[in-house]
């Protein structure tokens, strides 16, 4: 297990450092002076990582304060300080699903971010952890979505409940819960159709699914995770805000970190909306989605 985790961290690091050895590695090299150039380069790097101007400014302020407070003189030390600031900023305040308890994961997001694939991988992950997962194919809109999830269910060897295309997604969830109870499963993973967050009626469909879960599984720990594609830019914040309002988000899944994108908008989302990242995906293999670790992420991002 330990070895696997290391392999994953290596992948994460590799993914985050594809363009030139870590997001910020370049600016910590050679010259050790902490001057205006340094801050300018830093801001540029943060913006290129999709953190957005506001978050970049906030983090920079924190770094400036720390540099002053701790009398930091070199860029090498500054890198360490920034890694800590980032890790602190990204660390979730609360634990995730409690061990040994039943739980529901409702997976939401815009089209094409990797919801279905993430569910497949999460099912495999939790099964390996000793849980008894079940999938609910509540994406009844996109052509062949249920088939896609079925393939993942077979790969991960977990049961799946699905209806035909165009069925009521809340009804799929309802049936899945009945089967979940009957089969004695302890983790329900609900896929939903991708929807752009500005479509009001689709957003109220999510509210309905939430109501079904709350009614049929009262008191069961429910997490609503927004899946974000690492290549997404500043629009991710708008997505998190709107999905948060109608679906009551509790966290984020960051996918496709194996490209050259850095996923910096998750820092902005954590800062502005307090939503922590819970899983990161770094590849297409079934093991390439793993629980989020703030320190690993911060260090991989910075190349420390």
């Amino acid at each position: 297990m330990e070895k696997k985790k290391n392999g994953f961290f290596e992948k994460l690091k590799k993914g985050l450092s594809k363009t030139g050895g870590g997001l910020l590695a370049g600016i910590f090299l050679g010259d050790e002076r902490i001057d205006d150039d340094f801050y300018e380069e830093l801001e540029e790097a943060m913006i290129i990582a999709d953190m957005g101007m506001e978050t970049a400014d906030t983090l920079q302020e924190q770094l400036r304060a720390k540099i002053k407070e701790e009398k930091i003189k070199t860029r090498t030390e500054a890198r360490e300080a920034l890694a800590n600031i980032l890790a602190d900023a990204m660390r979730p305040e609360k634990g995730f699903i409690p061990a040994g308890e039943k739980a529901v994961l409702l997976i939401v997001g815009v089209n094409g971010v990797g919801k279905t694939t993430s569910i497949g991988k999460m099912a495999a992950y939790y099964k390996a952890e000793g849980r008894v997962p079940m999938m609910a194919a509540a994406d009844t809109f996109r052509a062949a979505a249920a088939e896609q999830l079925t393939v993942w269910a077979e790969r991960a060897d977990v049961p799946i409940v699905k209806h035909g295309e165009g069925a009521d997604p809340a009804a799929v969830v309802f049936d899945a819960i009945a089967s979940f109870k009957a089969k004695g499963c302890d983790l329900l993973l609900c896929d939903t159709a991708g929807r752009l967050h500005n479509k009001k009626n689709l957003m109220s469909e999510l509210e309905k699914i939430r109501r079904v879960i709350a009614k049929e599984l009262p008191g069961v720990h429910t997490e609503v995770l927004l899946v974000l594609d690492a290549t997404t830019g500043q629009n991710a914040i708008a997505q998190a805000r709107v999905f948060g309002e109608s679906a009551g988000l509790t966290g984020v899944v960051l996918t496709k970190l194996d490209g050259t994108a850095k996923g910096g908008m998750t820092v902005a989302i954590k800062q502005e909306l307090g939503l922590p990242v819970r899983f990161v995906g770094v590849g297409e293999g079934i093991d390439d989605l793993q629980p989020f670790d703030a320190d690993d992420f911060a260090r991989a991002l910075i190349g420390a």
Partner: protein, 448 residues
């Protein structure tokens, strides 16, 4: 919504200076900071932003702006012009080449929307170009990708060629033969999503390209992509020598700044955009309109085009002139409910009217169910009442409420809303009359 249109931000910057009469370099600098912020917020690439701001600054500190009586307008005009230029100036048409069948190859990252776009493109080219397309499923990796293309193909009535999980290069070749035998003059190849840094996968798509010699090699890119869009576009362009780009998911509230960067970095034009979930939600890309969108200036031209394709031209012209003149009765209101239903959701349409930015839309909640009730209320009125809402007194209100199965409050609300929208249209018209654009210079005063 967090995003205020850049044009209104710029207006604010210049409003502060209105007492001064003339712009100094410092004022331009402040304005450029706003431009920079807004572009970054719209996900335009950092390097592109830097050079863009430099170009605009150079022009903006020139005499034509500083001595102008409306420097603010001038700067916005320059920003808009430069942005349009950056995106390629005019709409770039699809090329079909001289060979039959013409081949279009779609490439892109995972989840960009290639499969859906393949279906949309097939339907569009069938309808508007009289083509007889064949869809080819070359995504052999993603579970159920072939099934998805088949479902999409069936919906738009276009056949799909597939050979299961076998070699995509061979599949593409055989598809051309298949198209020839079946008298298809257009082949659209859907490929697997791939990372631009995945050597093996990039080699595979390069081999597909070699095998079929496409007339168009189009990169499909998600409008919500952030700073990384340039890396993606660069790599795909280096491997495939793209002929153009398709931007998908432009129906979100995203500003689509990635579109701007992609053109700037690769030099390849954006040819189409996907604007919704329905398979008819595709339109040719117009750089000038996209510039207005990034600036937050609305998009009257697209609105009018949409209206035209949904009903006849005469009605579209009437609609436009009524909107402008604000001689707008409840009858038109009702008429438009019908027509707009066929044009798309109210939200889409309102978003295209200049001066209506997302922030203002926030309190004009548009609910399709609500519009059905409004329709019922208007239908319960007499023709005279619809033409002259002023005559609707208390007893008429009571009757209308009963007749439409609603309450007097709802009738009141509708009348108030109608009045408000009439006023808003009047304001818009006044705004465009009040020197926001030079007379006779542009047919449609969208923005300036």
């Amino acid at each position: 919504m967090a995003f205020e249109g850049l044009s209104s931000k710029l207006q604010n910057v210049f409003k502060k200076l209105s007492g001064k009469g003339k712009l100094g370099e410092k004022d331009v600098k402040e304005a450029m900071r706003e431009v920079k912020l807004a572009l970054l917020e719209a996900d335009v690439n950092f390097t592109v932003v830097k050079s863009f701001v430099n170009t605009v600054t150079e022009r903006a500190v020139g005499a034509e702006v500083l001595e102008s009586l409306t420097p603010g307008q001038q700067v916005i005009k320059i920003v808009n012009e430069e942005m349009t230029k950056l995106m390629g100036g005019t709409n770039a048409k699809l090329e079909f080449g001289s060979r039959t069948p013409a081949v279009i190859l779609l490439a892109g990252l995972q989840g960009a929307g290639k499969t859906t776009m393949a279906g949309k493109l097939a339907a569009y080219l069938q309808k508007h170009y009289g083509k007889s397309p064949l869809l080819v499923a070359c995504d052999i990796y993603r579970p159920a990708a072939i099934k998805q293309l088949q479902v999409v193909g069936e919906k738009v009535g276009v056949p799909v060629f597939e050979r299961g999980q076998s070699d995509p290069v061979e599949t593409a070749k055989l598809a051309i033969e298949h198209a020839n035998r079946n008298l298809k003059d257009l082949v659209i190849i859907d490929t697997a999503g791939r990372l631009h840094i995945d050597g093996d996968m990039m080699a595979e798509i390069a081999a597909v390209k070699e095998a079929v010699n496409p007339a168009e090699i189009l990169l499909v890119i998600d409008a919500m992509t952030g700073q990384d869009a340039v890396n993606v576009a660069k790599s795909f362009n280096e491997t495939l020598e793209l002929t153009g780009v398709i931007v998908t998911k432009l129906d979100g509230d995203t500003r689509g700044g990635a579109a701007l960067s992609v053109k700037a970095v690769t030099g390849k034009p954006i040819k189409f955009s996907g604007i919704g979930e329905k398979l008819t939600d595709i339109e040719p890309f117009h750089p000038d309109r996209m510039a207005s969108r990034i600036l937050g200036m609305g998009d009257v031209l697209t609105l009018i085009e949409k209206a035209q394709s949904a009903f006849d031209e005469k009605k579209a012209a009437e609609l436009e002139s009524k909107m402008r003149k604000a001689e707008f009765t409840l009858e038109d209101f009702l008429d438009q409910f019908q027509q707009m239903k066929s044009m798309g959701s109210m939200q889409d349409i309102l978003g295209m009217i200049p001066g209506m930015d997302a922030a203002k839309l926030g309190n004009v909640e548009i609910d399709e169910k609500q519009t059905a009730r409004m329709e019922a209320i208007i239908r319960a009125m007499t023709p005279q009442e619809r033409r002259k809402p002023d005559i609707i007194n208390a007893s008429r209100r009571k009757r209308i409420a009963r007749g439409s199965g609603t309450s007097i409050q709802e009738v009141n609300r509708l009348l108030n809303q109608f009045e408000a929208s009439r006023k808003m249209m009047k304001q818009l018209t006044n705004m465009s009359k009040g020197g926001r654009f030079k007379k006779g210079k542009k047919r449609f005063p969208f923005g300036f």
